[in-house]
Symmetry: C2
Subunit: 296 residues, 2 copies
């Protein structure tokens, strides 16, 4: 996969996803204007759209179209953005910058930021429910998957475990649980929802599950590594935060080299999962490589 | 409708709804335990279950069963509870007491309370998506209704408008928008979701819509009145808060007598909407009367 091709692919997909999000979100002057401006501030704050792009690529790997996967792609980005807005609030991680711009509550205040996150979660479910029904999967099935992913056993549960683990040296098993819940679960849901929109077979769904879990955990391990090795300017957010808050991370528990090796091992597992898709899995494979090719 | 019968009905319905919520919520010791304990703290904090009971009654008014409406009933209660938890947070209304017990963040801290609310919103969508499909309505249709109700144009939008209206004397039209968005929208969704679970006809859906909007607005006007006329002990939450924070309320804008008259007028409109159901609407009618029979 030539580097130029992936860049073009990503750029085109970002444009495609952004145009959809532009339609999916109420206009910034919709009443109440502060709320809709806040939602748009965070949704259009320069995110790389990795989750929706993975969702679209998974749909195509299963023989579907990106058009049918678009509601699910918008949904996972809205859900991801809501979780970032809430994570950044003062009572949580208390972050001032995100993706190189001020966080939602720094611009719109805590109350409106909290509510913008709440509204984005609701919008995620409204969007995914609009997916056309397929032979094997109903939009209600997709809502169920997204809701379980977003709920107390995965996304939110991982966030609580993460907060409660601050300042403690966690066993690696607990850290893995946090990373799987906070990050891998939503990446996995992203590809599975794409697959469902494309009438994926049980075998394809299992492959997307394995691919998502491996890629998601690898992605989070790299995120841990980048926090140690990169500057705030390059990250577009406060760097060294994990060390400052004594958070358990893969580098802290395993060291940098072992963490890098684990990320590579997981990428191999992700590649293996994609074999079932044959040539249709080429972009999912390229995306997994891209996630590991970040400068760590 | 004899008073004793309604009391027995409500008591039986609370027991029925509570038993369902007990099954729907993960056990309090499910990992992470603090999160699940916080969710249960607020869900089982003595709520009257008005929304789920209205949902079940609407299903029966349309010839359906309470069993088929049960997922929707649980969903609206989870959504309502999430909105209360977030409303009570320090950056919002900053309330210490709710339904006579300490608010979620007073017991579990702000971060866990915020996340418990987030998880309850996700659970609401997981539950409503489990409703069996009917001829006219799919669970995805129900998710769409619940998501729009919960989102930036209704529940969350009304909350933002409410916050931004504090300390201002709002036009009555704006106050009505806030009450309709914050309160009437979810009551309306509660009865419409019950109807959808029972394969309601378009005529029945319209009647439930009209009933819900009239009852919901009346309910909120009475809530405004009670804040002026009742003690904190009787309300189970801080009284006089609206006056203290200079919030616009119906009594402040119209006076107490006109507010009471408006509540009664809306009840009549609610009654009129129920005519289409004939004798099957008897409990919805009794519930509307009950909402107005609170001691104001």
């Amino acid at each position: 996969m030539p580097e130029l091709d992936l860049k073009t692919y990503l750029s085109q997909r970002v444009t495609f996803v952004d145009a959809a999000l532009e339609r999916f979100l109420p206009a910034a002057d919709t009443r109440p204007a502060s709320l809709h401006a806040a939602m748009r501030h965070s949704v259009f704050a320069g995110g790389k759209r990795l989750r929706p792009i993975l969702c679209l690529a998974a749909a195509e790997a299963c023989g579907g179209t990106r058009e049918r996967a678009l509601f699910a792609a918008g949904a996972v980005e809205c859900l991801h953005t809501y979780s970032l807005i809430h994570d950044d609030l003062p009572c949580m991680d208390d972050d001032d910058m995100r993706r190189g711009v001020p966080t939602c509550h720094k611009v719109y205040g805590e109350a409106v930021a909290l509510l913008a996150g709440d509204a984005l979660q609701a919008l995620a479910f409204e969007l995914v429910a609009r997916t056309p029904v397929t032979h094997r999967h109903s939009p209600a099935d997709m809502v169920t998957l997204l809701a379980r992913t977003a709920g107390s056993l995965h996304l939110v549960g991982g966030q609580v475990a993460d907060l409660e683990g601050e300042g403690k040296k966690l066993p690696l098993e607990d850290l893995r649980y946090i990373h799987e819940s906070k990050t891998a679960a939503l990446l996995t849901a992203s590809v599975k929802l794409g697959g469902m929109s494309a009438d994926a077979t049980p075998e394809q769904m299992q492959a997307l599950h394995d691919f998502g879990m491996a890629t998601g955990l690898a992605f989070q391990i790299i995120d841990d590594i980048l926090d140690v090795t990169q500057t705030s300017e390059k990250l577009g957010k406060s760097a060294g935060k994990d060390v400052a808050t004594e958070k358990s991370t893969y580098p802290a528990l395993m060291g940098l080299d072992a963490s890098r090796a684990e990320a590579h091992r997981l990428t191999d597992a992700a590649h293996a999962a994609l074999e079932v898709f044959g040539p249709n899995g080429v972009w999912l494979r390229a995306l997994a490589d891209y996630l590991l090719q970040r400068d760590y």
